[in-house]
Symmetry: C2
Subunit: 356 residues, 2 copies
């Protein structure tokens, strides 16, 4: 073959996105407020006061989930929730969803129904409607969801907008979804080794497993803020891990940041899992992905207007030249690497890992 062959892993996911975006060029649509480059795209509606946001995310078997350890009802719920999370990160309300579903022959009608029960549950929980899609045969189970959300134009929050001096804040606790993944991967190993004789006791891990299999979009938080008349200056949802998302906020806002590792909220159950694997729980919290909490920038004078139970201050934005650093619990200042989350690693042919 005479054509050059650059493996995608050589330039990484973000390098690839840059190259593909260069091919598309600059969009010229007069109503498009934000195209590629935030949690969701934003376009103005004809009344000029309302915008819609749109986002799409896929969950692929062997890449994002393993059927052996993923109940299909949970999977349906998660497919909606991860997209709603992107809508929440724009400070918008989800309205409509479409789904394309690739079903291999090993999926029965009853299994597809279980998947849809999860989808229905998520749609009811978050207040959106599944309005269409495409169902087709496939070699492996694949689910791609698009969600359209709505907001007043002045409510939208982008990744850009943080300023030096703003507080770096996060909802909920971090690292739990990754801890859940660790437990589930160990369970999978035991299941494969011992088969049906294996009697797992997952009760001690209920919280972290739920965070992995059944994540929640933090719509509750942005709805509370809206009632309080509050709007963060910049926001992103934590899908790839805190470190990676801090870098996104800083790059888009033209800021640096300091993260205090000791201030990152971590659940007791997450610590227990890290201990069990003799691993550092700070690594889970900084680099573990799929927590779907919200990371946001808040001017200090707005601090007292928030419900103090709903978030934690974990650092501050700084001038760009000060870089992006983390202060370890021991007090050392080290650069925060933008290492992203490693998606579920397939036991298959390994192809699935290359973009991660």
């Amino acid at each position: 073959m005479s054509e050059p062959f650059t493996p995608i892993r050589e330039i990484g996911e973000f390098g690839l996105i840059d190259r593909l975006q260069a091919i598309l060029g600059e969009p010229t649509d007069p109503d498009l407020i934000m195209g590629i480059g935030d949690d969701a795209a934003v376009y103005r509606l004809p009344d000029q006061e309302t915008v819609h946001v749109i986002t799409s995310d896929a969950l692929l078997e062997g890449v994002h989930f393993d059927r052996l350890i993923t109940p299909l009802e949970y999977l349906g719920y998660k497919a909606i929730a991860v997209n709603v999370s992107d809508v929440a990160a724009m400070n918008a309300e989800p309205r409509y969803a479409t789904i394309t579903l690739g079903l291999p022959s090993k999926i029965s009608v009853e299994m597809a129904e279980a998947l849809y029960r999860g989808i229905r549950r998520a749609c009811e929980k978050y207040g959106l409607v599944l309005v269409g899609g495409d169902t087709t045969a496939a070699h492996t189970l694949c689910i791609s969801v698009t969600v359209v959300g709505e907001a007043r134009i002045d409510e939208i929050v982008f990744r850009r907008g943080a300023r030096p001096g703003d507080l770096l804040c996060v909802t909920g606790d971090l690292g739990a979804a990754y801890a859940g993944l660790k437990v589930l991967l160990e369970e999978r190993k035991a299941l494969k080794a011992e088969g049906l004789n294996y009697k797992p006791d997952l009760e001690p891990f209920r919280y972290v497993i739920q965070r992995q299999l059944l994540p929640e979009a933090r719509l509750d938080v942005i709805r509370d803020w809206r009632q309080r008349g509050l709007r963060p200056r910049a926001m992103i949802d934590i899908s790839d891990g805190l470190a990676s998302e801090v870098h996104h906020l800083c790059r888009h806002s033209g800021c640096g940041a300091l993260v205090h590792a000791a201030a990152i909220p971590v659940a007791l159950e997450t610590r227990d899992v890290a201990d069990r694997f003799s691993e550092d729980v700070d690594t889970y919290a900084l680099f573990g992905g799929e927590d779907y909490e919200l990371l946001f920038a808040l001017p200090p004078d707005q601090l007292e207007r928030l419900d103090p139970l709903s978030f934690n201050v974990i650092g501050e934005f700084l001038p760009a030249e000060q870089g992006i650093q983390v202060q370890t619990p021991e007090g050392a200042l080290i650069p925060l690497e933008p290492a992203g989350y490693q998606h579920f690693r397939s036991g298959g042919d390994g192809e699935a890992d290359l973009l991660e």
Copy 2:
């Protein structure tokens, strides 16, 4: 396993969709004009005069295409075009697209760029903007596209709305995409047998191959109609084959229909391919899919307002009790079976065929 396992092939794609829709229940969104059940969903925007339509369609390797005979630039174009076709079938203009792309490691950066060149070309051609999406690793190449379109609320055309006495009309010519598929599958066989020594002469098949690999959404037709102040009473795009789409229009409109096989427009190139394979070209025209022409219902008094070169009258709508029939070129009246298009059949493990 104690749970019942009903293979999806037992109830078919439409049977499955019915069961899944039953789980979702009736949507209650006050702005939703059309949910699942047409070429695209339709929702009212806050100005109350404009609607958006939304549709999603996936193209999966080994199910909808074979990499060996599908240039990636064409594939990118087609992924957009098939979704724009659904938007056109609602009589709306495409505005925004999102894409989720699953890339196996055998796809290089340069190949992904070729795919995106096709996407850009389709976006330019049809006047929409790719605004976002998700790029991830995958075991096989998979592309899911969502397109949002726009129309004035009184412009929208549904599948319902045809009345007995309306003319059954179609744009372009039919069966060509299926003829193209036949030729390409034969080429694939030769390629596999003879390898790089194989020197194909595809020039005689240029038209039908292009119709298969590089289909066009008939936006040109609906734009022309809009200028003439014309609106069909019911419409659908022909993705699964004429017979199947006639059934959809009739079911949604509560009508029967009579199709005159001799009136179905078929290109000379399509006839040549059918002759080459000693097959009946009427079968191509009635049951071959992926032509992406528009099938629509027109009151007879509107006939003279259409550009006569842009469409053909191929039958008429009848009262429901008269059923759905086709008159063969020899004059016999036989029931028109709703047999759908068989998607590209994988040479793989056969899983991919089960939904079709």
